[in-house]
Subunit: 330 residues, 2 copies
């Protein structure tokens, strides 16, 4: 800075004002300073200039499971919008409840970001208030959360689409493989997707049979275990509704190993439309995952520009019928 000021023949204070686009600098002076800076390859520190403006130009994105398709795809969409707006993405992988507490505890004191986007996980009320009091916005993507702006599917609607499809095919004995997050002890299986199952069966006048519901962690291998448990029932279901496609892939694996045909012996429906679902010929309820990320990015940009946003944005899901579902033979 001293070199720039000397070369431009101005004081350091003036050179600094000229480089930070301060209004009270004569045009000719600014021109001289910029020319001097260019000659000296002076790099304007974004840190220093941002500090003056009170914003960091950065957004923290908090992800509970980075290597899983759903979260990585949300992040993909979100990052594309934020980068387009010249905001930097600071990535925080918080693997469990302790990580999450630590993140929310440390972030405000550091004041490193203008906003936090949480992908598919909750934020406690106290943490939210703390961030808001420091002017840090919060947006959720891929999960529906009360009290702050979100972009998500309607899990109840998605579950209903899956179970109604099986009911329409005249299945009467329908199992559910419900998924929980093992890093979050005490969390229930996805409540919207579970409730949809019970409500759809009740609406169809079918009795509730707790033996037809198996709850396992998210993921393919546990879907395989869950299907084995359903097959060991005295009277197995004729169709199974899985909380996600990955869980359904595991269920299909067990059926194949057992020599059962899909959909002849058992229909299977998932939720997601995972990239592998088409290859597995899996009937599923498709959710637009990348689009939830981009929509959350746009929601955040409007918040940062000072707009008020009401609640959240629910994106639609739709049934994709493939070869894993058919009417029951029995």
């Amino acid at each position: 800075m001293a070199d720039v000021a000397r070369r431009a023949g101005v004081s350091m204070a003036t050179a600094s004002r000229a480089l930070s686009n301060h209004p009270h600098v004569a045009a000719e002076t600014r021109r001289r300073v910029l020319a001097a800076a260019e000659q000296l390859s002076y790099v304007i520190s974004p840190e220093a200039s941002r500090l003056a403006g009170g914003t960091t130009g950065r957004v923290a994105v908090v992800v509970p499971h980075l290597s899983r398709w759903f979260f990585a795809t949300l992040l993909d969409g979100l990052e594309s919008v934020l980068r387009e707006a010249d905001l930097d993405v600071l990535l925080y992988h918080v693997g469990d409840a302790d990580d999450r507490r630590d993140f929310f505890h440390r972030l405000p004191a550091r004041r490193k970001v203008d906003a936090v986007v949480v992908l598919g996980m909750p934020v406690a009320d106290g943490e939210r208030e703390r961030l808001e009091s420091m002017g840090v916005h919060i947006v959720a993507a891929g999960g529906q959360v009360e009290n702050y702006p979100y972009v998500s599917i309607d899990d109840g609607e998605a579950g209903r689409q899956a179970v109604d499809h099986l009911l329409l095919l005249k299945h009467r004995r329908i199992g559910m493989i419900a998924a929980v997050d093992p890093t979050e002890p005490g969390w229930p299986a996805n409540p919207g997707r579970s409730r949809a199952y019970h409500e759809a069966l009740a609406a169809a006048g079918l009795p509730a049979d707790p033996g037809l519901v198996v709850t396992v962690p998210w993921g393919g291998l546990s879907g395989a275990d869950a299907m084995a448990r359903l097959l060991s029932l005295r009277e197995p279901p004729t169709a199974v509704y899985a909380h996600s496609d990955e869980v359904a892939f595991g269920a299909i694996h067990t059926l194949r190993r057992a020599g059962l045909r899909i959909p002849g012996d058992m229909s299977v429906v998932g939720i997601d439309d995972h990239p592998m679902a088409e290859l597995a010929d899996l009937t599923t309820v498709a959710q637009p995952v990348r689009e939830q990320g981009t929509a959350a990015g746009r929601l955040l940009l409007s918040l940062l520009s000072g707009a008020e946003t009401g609640g959240g944005l629910t994106v639609p899901t739709r049934l994709v019928v493939r070869g894993s579902t058919a009417p029951p033979r029995r």
Copy 2:
């Protein structure tokens, strides 16, 4: 800062020096300033204090395909090590060659990070020199690159393990589904994995048949197309070596559709040990993906601490035999 200085009864310059741990501040003065800052809940800006030290505390991670399992899993491992070291991860998704050029063009001028980790993509020599001249370190993970430190598998060795397995089963007509990145026109299919195929066949005294090699973009759907092309040969192969598990999943899908049995009619081997490989009963060459990310993180930490590192680190791969390979019937 003015409030802190006033309350501590010192000049602003002294208060600033005390808060930034400058050595030339009397212990008693420092104590008074810190107490005043604490009373006023003064938050030391990490930006400002980092600027003085010349480091940003941030690492840029550059990813070409964020939503793909391989890249997301590398990122998962890398982030865990950097976060443990209290470094922040700035995420940059560069979808194609233009994005990449833009990233490397803009980054040095901003000087936002202390280092760049590139995941599975190249950096041109000029870009590398530019970053190095500004004191920005570069490390590569998940790809083997000359001229700067990397953590990767030996693609040639992995390919050799896959093809040798098929040769040991006495397959003599072996196809290869080679994968290219469609966002990188002009790039060849993974060179190490391709060369391994040709070398292994030559070592076994088998003739080269260009018709047995199909080159498609990475991914399941193109693997399905590639297998259809191999099946349309006058004399199809008895076994297929796919450059990745996702490509192999697609190939298996086509075989199933065609009513062919695996491994009875056709053996299939992949590379990766993708989370779905166990469910698909796919024989594959496993590579430790998350571990390549963590190793790259540790390599970077040692570079940032001033250590010299020689070249790169190659992590071993190993054959995982499952149900998709067997001796040929013909």
